[in-house]
Symmetry: C2
Subunit: 131 residues, 2 copies
DNA sequence: CAGTATCCCAACGGATACTG
DNA sequence: CAGTATCCGTTGGGATACTG
């Protein structure tokens, strides 16, 4: 008795619930709701990028955090890492189909922040000056 | 010379860029890409909730983190806090229009995690067992 | 260039105890 | 019930130095 991919995802939605403390999705949610992960996925949405290109694109990210974030995303099957033997060595990162599936979701947060920053500033000003 | 709300958001998209280290959206992105923030917004998407209801719904959240998350969301104009004088006191939290605007974005992450947990597990198994 | 390994400080976040 | 305050261990994350 086989199920379609869609049926399996529907089943998963019933089985998994990130509101539950012990649910593995709680930990996956932690990985996805990560500033650097969001920026990396957004940066890779346009196509493969070298390590150095990502470092340049995502201003201010330390080498350590970039590598660490990429490793986690690679382990979770969202990104592939391709090493080209050369001197110096060349490493390209690319989104997997699973990772590309996540692009709209992750870029939506970044876009939302950029689009609504002004309203958040106004709200903060109101909050900070209430009597 | 006035602009429509949409025009202002379009303008903001050009002015703000979370890829830049000094951009205020980088910090807003940090707030939004927060495990507890995502769960709180998802929990409030169905309507107003009391502090204790949220604590119960979001299993495992400490009282400290719940209050802290709610304060940040309130300050950023995403949530309202309503105190009803009584003994004991009653406090209700509710999404603002700005907060409701964010619901689809935030619930999408949670839903994605729940729907694709199995594929992430498979990817991890592959990653962890490669020679 | 890409990555690993330390060192180290600051922030996160849980546990507990105490107020209105 | 809702919230604050304190303590304290854990993690996040930058800086630096060193390899293939």
């Amino acid at each position: 008795m086989t199920m379609t991919a869609q049926q399996r995802r529907d089943q998963a939605k019933r089985d998994y619930d990130a509101f539950l403390a012990g649910c593995p999705t709680r930990e996956l949610l932690s990985t996805l709701t990560d500033k650097w992960a969001a920026l990396v996925i957004a940066a890779l949405s346009g196509g493969p990028q070298r390590h150095s290109e990502l470092a340049h694109r995502i201003a201010g990210v330390s080498q350590k955090m970039l590598t660490q974030t990429l490793r986690t995303l690679e382990r979770d099957g969202l990104v592939t890492r391709t090493v080209t033997a050369a001197v110096p060595v060349r490493v390209d990162y690319e989104l997997t189909p699973l990772g590309r599936d996540l692009v709209p979701v992750m870029t939506a947060i970044k876009t939302w922040a950029e689009a609504h920053m002004d309203r958040v500033f106004e709200a903060r000003a109101r909050f900070d000056t209430r009597d």
